[in-house]
Symmetry: C2
Subunit: 143 residues, 2 copies
C-alpha cells in the first residue's frame, strides 16, 4: 500500500501561503479549512517551509500576542521532509514517528503533488484492515 | 494489542489545567511540554474538557489577540471521548478517525489514568509490525 492510494482517495489539493503571511492569517486559514498545516512557497512555487498548528502555538508561547503580526517565516520549519507517491505507508509511519511531525508533503518530479497527514495514514490503515478482514471472510465462506 | 501496552511504554502521566486557565498560559504549557493537548479538570479531579492545539488555533482565528486572555473553557471540547486500558489499538484508530481528533484520555474505574495520542498509536503500530517481522524471520531460520 503506497502514498498514491491515499492521494487517489483524498485528492492532490495542497494549501500554500507566502512566507511573509502573518501568523494570525495562517491561523484563520488552518481553522477555516480544518487542516493542520500549510506549505510556504516562494514566487516560483518552490517549497520553502511548512507551518503546522504546533509551530503557531510555539510562536504564541514565545512571543505572546505580538506573534500574531509576525510573518510565518519566523516560525516555520524550513527543513521540510517530503515523500514520493511510490513510498509505502509503513515508510510514512516511520518518517512521522522519527521526526515527530504529522504532515508529509508529496513531491512528483520535484513538484508539490499533495500532502499526507497522520490522520490520513491511520484512516488508510483502518480501511486496509477492513479489506483484509472482508477478503478473509469471503475466502472462508467460499472455501 | 491494547491501550495498556502503550501506557506501559509511555507512562500514565497526564497534564491537567483549570478550566479558568488563560489561552496564552495553555499555549505555553503545550509548547513547553511538547504535547498536543491537556485535560481541563474541576476541583474534584473530574474531567470537564480537553484542549488541543487545534482548539487554541480556532480561538485565535475567531478572536485574534483578545483570545489569549480568555479562559480555555470558552474554547475547549466538553464532550470528551475516552477509552479504557482494555480497548484495542484498532478501536482507538476508529474513534480517532471517526471523531477527527488526535488525543484520547484513558479512564480506569472512572479516574484519569493516561492519555493516548495518534502519534503513540502509529508508533505502536510500527513496533508491532517489527515484532511480527522478527518473529517471522526467526520462524523461517529455525524452521
Amino acid at each position: 500500500m503506497t502514498v498514491s492510494v491515499i492521494l487517489s482517495n483524498k485528492g492532490h489539493n495542497v494549501f500554500t501561503v507566502d512566507p511573509d503571511e502573518k501568523v494570525e492569517a495562517v491561523a484563520q486559514l488552518l481553522a477555516g479549512k480544518r487542516i493542520g498545516a500549510v506549505l510556504a512557497t516562494s514566487g516560483d512555487g518552490k517549497v520553502v517551509g511548512i507551518v503546522s498548528e504546533r509551530d503557531l502555538i510555539r510562536a504564541i508561547a514565545e512571543k505572546g500576542s505580538s506573534a500574531l503580526k509576525r510573518p510565518i517565516s519566523d516560525f516555520m520549519t524550513t527543513s521540510v521532509v517530503t515523500c514520493q507517491e511510490s513510498d509505502s505507508i509503513a515508510l510514512l509511519m516511520e518518517k512521522m514517528t522519527t521526526g515527530k511531525f504529522r504532515h508529509l508533503p508529496v513531491l512528483k518530479n520535484g513538484k508539490l503533488d499533495g500532502i499526507i497527514s497522520i490522520g490520513d495514514v491511520v484512516k488508510q490503515r483502518i480501511e486496509e484492515t477492513e479489506f483484509e478482514a472482508n477478503a478473509m471472510r469471503e475466502y472462508i465462506s467460499t472455501g
